[in-house]
Symmetry: C2
């Protein structure tokens, strides 16, 4: 529940045209001329786990495209509890609500080592005004949020604790680009699933004992996916 201040490891001005995940990013459809519309610098950042991209009361000046790593969007409530409302991964756009003229709606924190492009809001708005080639990508991003939110409600906030944990693990496995996947802290699992830390821990223990989940190094695990899916039925 601690919030560390962002530590900006500036790497280099991004060469969007040569981006390694060019086909995934917000600017995927832009052409050479469009890039001339960018006046302020887009920089690469690297964050370590637990560092924050932004907090909800930060000045809403940037959006971020995730190049690699995992981000959680967190709503803190006054009583010290928190609820994680979404996970974002490669290609996702973090802080999109500021493009609608609103403050940041959440606190965005890195879970895994994170690399992002930091894009000034003013640039996105300028490009959005001047070329229609950004619209399609913007719509796709908004749409994904809606779809993710549905998943969060129907799969991760519904049913028994054991089922929720299994669905979360399968989800984490699905969005991982490796064979192993990110295993959140039990507290974070609780905040994602609307259950307590202890319950999350118990469910993980049970799955380990049943031999369907293997905890590797810190915060990583692998799973017998087929067997695990079978447990849902």
């Amino acid at each position: 529940m601690k919030i560390e201040v962002i530590d900006e490891v500036w790497r280099e001005l991004s060469k969007c045209e040569m981006c390694g995940i060019r086909d995934l990013v917000l600017f995927a459809d832009l052409n050479e001329d469009d890039f001339k519309l960018i006046h302020q610098p887009i920089v690469d950042l690297q964050l370590k786990p637990f560092q924050t991209l932004y907090r909800s009361d930060d000045s809403p000046d940037f959006v971020y495209t995730i190049r690699s790593g995992l981000v959680k969007l967190v709503n803190y409530s006054s009583d010290g509890h928190y609820r994680i409302v979404r996970l974002l991964g490669k290609g996702d756009l973090v802080g999109i609500e500021v493009l609608a003229g609103l403050p940041y709606a959440h606190c965005a924190e890195a879970l895994e080592p994170l690399t992002v492009c930091r894009i000034p809001v003013s640039e996105v708005q300028r490009i959005n005004r001047d070329t229609p080639r950004l619209h399609q990508q913007m719509i796709a991003r908004w749409q994904k949020i809606s779809c993710d939110a549905d998943y969060w409600i129907t799969e991760l906030s519904t049913g028994q604790a054991r089922q929720r944990v299994i669905r979360l693990l399968l989800h984490l496995s699905a969005i991982s680009d490796r064979s192993d996947f990110f295993l959140p802290s039990r507290e974070d699992m609780g905040a994602m699933l609307g259950i307590t830390t202890e319950t999350a821990s118990r469910m993980i223990s049970a799955l380990r004992n049943e031999g369907v989940l293997h905890v590797l190094e810190k915060n990583r695990a692998s799973a017998e996916l087929e067997q695990m899916r079978a447990l849902l039925i």
Copy 2:
């Protein structure tokens, strides 16, 4: 859990320029010239409670602007259960995901007597291409979905059943344009909150006994809002 087929009560071609809720709707910012871009008819529909606007496997040809009434977005799962993931009211755009080229993501059903404008997708896309004045409204609508989803997760899918019920009632009261408000069936309340029908019923009974909730006619209620808010603390 029954699904009735849409019963299209055609009223008249909509005169968007003279719309009573013009400042709320998707086309709020369009000018006279923009409306000339509309070739296919936009029609008004009236639906009774329990009728559906569309189902998830319907051909995604229309979006709907709510003029009055309440709509639930429902995800049915194969085992017969269902989860309500959002409520939409006056000015909201129903089925927005089809504008991103996707099938309907939910089943949309009327809760209260409903009046909507049925807008062909092709028209929205044409206007969106030809005038930037639609963009702002589109973004605002996508943004609202994201915001609503956060609320659904943090307030309605978190904590004890009693708190969830109270928060739902306060929410229903807040989005009502009258002093009384829509009171869902206990089954629907369960599907909104991730609890059982019986638990929902028990909570409603308790609140009635405590004198903070007054059930009026069928599916309507009023509440001592201040006292009810105090119960959350």
